[in-house]
């Protein structure tokens, strides 16, 4: 079964690019721009979440903490994306599993995905 990745990114350019990049590697990709939809996600849950540090004006860390505090989504690996390198520590503090600075190398992204999912 293919692994499913949810990309919570409100910039359509970046979101679409991530879809192309991840589908090329055989992953199933869904894009979500609405922060409520992400925070209140229902089953079936994705296998991995890419979460932008700012989603439609909402602080990504809030969403991250919320998901990590719920039993259903506690085990969902979350990788925070941000254009600010300096937010790496903030991401960790919010409970994210990892952090990726934009713009990133495709190789780095795929390595990270493989780390949390195995290959697609």
């Amino acid at each position: 079964m293919r692994k499913r990745i949810l990309v919570a990114e409100d910039d359509p350019g970046v979101g679409d690019m991530l879809r192309e990049m991840l589908e090329e590697e055989g992953y199933e990709v869904e894009i979500e721009m609405d922060e409520q939809a992400v925070q209140q996600m229902q089953e079936p849950f994705p296998d991995l979440l890419f979460l932008d540090i700012r989603l439609s004006g909402t602080d990504g860390r809030t969403i991250c903490r919320q998901l990590k505090s719920q039993e259903a989504t506690y085990h969902l690996p979350i990788i925070i994306l941000s254009a600010h390198k300096d937010t790496r520590q903030m991401a960790r503090d919010a409970g994210a599993d990892d952090f990726l600075a934009k713009p990133f190398e495709m190789g780095d992204l795929l390595t990270l995905v493989a780390k949390y999912l195995g290959s697609g």
Binding site: M17, E20, M21, E24, A83, P103, F104, E105
Partner: protein, 434 residues
């Protein structure tokens, strides 16, 4: 009769002898008098000389007083002379003009009672009252006060006790304008930094998308066997990396100038970082070969990402400025306190008179054959600032036509306490605005 005569004779003899001895006494008295007279004359002459000297000294004293007066009145800054009771003995013209007060309301008053207590500032009070017993001077004491008449002023005060004259001198400099200009400049730099932070963030979003597409397409074309298209995309990726690098430099330079450069210090392995960077940079060049010589063999303390940034900058400069040669050396060494990294190229080199200038903003080397090399001229400025803030030094040794070696130092990490876990000190820093 004869006996009477003899007796009289004897009396006469005695009298004679007495008279002779009196004479001698008188003579010696006379001589003494003469000597005394001479001594008095000598003293007199001495007194004359002393008198003349006194008159001269008096004249000099008067000159010194006049000179001191003239200095006090000519200097453009307010000056107060206080006696030991902190009463104003005297204020200069500049004082009266600046504070818009009258001598009548100033002289002989205790400083704290001047002008409705406008000088009755508690900290100033303490300082002046402590000055008396301890005989200390103070300089650059800042006073921020709103004065009746002249309004809000920021001033720097110097005070000095003149022991011999039992006086206290108080000199005042108005720095209100200077402070205002400094604040304004700092505000502008901070605004510029904030703008740049937003701009760079905004620029990064489309670039992220572009870079991602470029790399995906590169993979697809490679898989499809279209080498030419794949090569184009690889070049596009390289151009995007240059763009990203430029954006980063602009952001760094505005951060540095606003005093807002940030870093995250920790203990790390310099040798490992150097190996990683050399490998990474090595992939970007076909012409140049980078070799590492020596090792630091000691953990250092700093921000590995920032130090990596410095090393990458030096390596890319080394390659840029040695288009005709192939070798680049990275030399590592250390002593008890510092680790030193040197990056050597064998290219065009830098003339000695430019060795300090290269670290300035916007400085770009030009070469008769290549004209000006591309770039903003910010890399070395940023690198030098990073190294400096990490407690290190940066410098260059170079000769034209031979090549250049850029050195920088990083402090060694302090040894952990014996018996404890090796420290993983993490320190995040952002400089205070200077």
């Amino acid at each position: 009769m004869i006996e009477e005569l003899e007796a009289a004779n004897e009396e006469l003899h005695s009298a004679n002898e007495e008279s002779l001895s009196s004479n001698e006494e008188l003579q010696s008295l006379n001589e003494e008098l003469e000597t005394s007279k001479e001594e008095i004359q000598a003293s007199n002459e001495e007194l004359h000389v002393l008198n003349a000297e006194l008159l001269q000294r008096n004249a000099q004293l008067q000159e010194a007083r006049d000179f001191a007066d003239a200095i006090v009145e000519t200097i453009r800054e307010p000056l107060l002379v206080l006696d030991v009771e902190l009463r104003v003995q005297r204020a200069n013209r500049a004082f009266y003009r600046f504070f818009q007060v009258e001598p009548a309301h100033t002289e002989r008053r205790r400083i704290f009672k001047l002008g409705d207590g406008q000088w009755n500032i508690p900290a100033l009070r303490t300082l002046l009252e402590e000055l008396l017993p301890t005989n200390h001077a103070f300089v650059d004491y800042e006073v921020d006060h709103t004065f009746p008449g002249i309004g809000h002023r920021i001033m720097l005060l110097n005070a000095q006790r003149v022991e011999s004259a039992q006086l206290i001198l108080l000199a005042i400099e108005d720095i209100t304008e200077r402070k205002r200009a400094e604040n304004e400049k700092q505000q502008l730099l901070e605004q510029r930094e904030e703008f740049m932070a937003i701009a760079s963030h905004e620029l990064k979003t489309p670039v992220t998308s572009l870079k991602g597409y470029t790399q995906v397409l590169h993979t697809r074309f490679t898989k499809a066997g279209d080498e030419r298209s794949a090569a184009m995309l690889a070049r596009m990726n390289a151009q995007l990396d240059k763009l990203i690098h430029l954006i980063g430099e602009l952001l760094d330079v505005t951060s540095i100038e606003a005093g807002k450069l940030s870093w995250h210090n920790e203990r790390f392995d310099l040798d490992a970082l150097v190996r990683d960077i050399v490998e990474e940079v090595g992939h970007t060049t076909e012409r140049h070969q980078i070799r590492i010589e020596g090792a630091a063999r000691t953990p250092v303390y700093g921000d590995p990402e920032r130090i990596g940034q410095v090393l990458t900058n030096l390596l890319s400069n080394a390659m840029k400025y040695s288009p005709q040669t192939h070798a680049i050396l990275v030399k590592l060494a250390s002593d008890t306190d510092t680790a030193t990294v040197g990056v050597q190229d064998f290219g065009i080199g830098i003339a000695p008179e430019k060795h300090e200038q290269v670290f300035e903003r916007f400085f770009r080397v030009s070469d008769p054959e290549h004209e000006t090399f591309p770039g903003l001229g910010l890399g070395l400025f940023i690198s030098a600032q990073i190294v400096k803030r990490q407690g290190g030094r940066m410098w260059v040794e170079s000769r034209v036509g031979v090549g250049a070696t850029f050195f920088f130092t990083v402090p060694c990490a302090p040894q952990p306490e014996p018996g404890s876990q090796p420290l993983r000190l993490r320190q995040e820093g952002e400089e205070q605005h200077a």
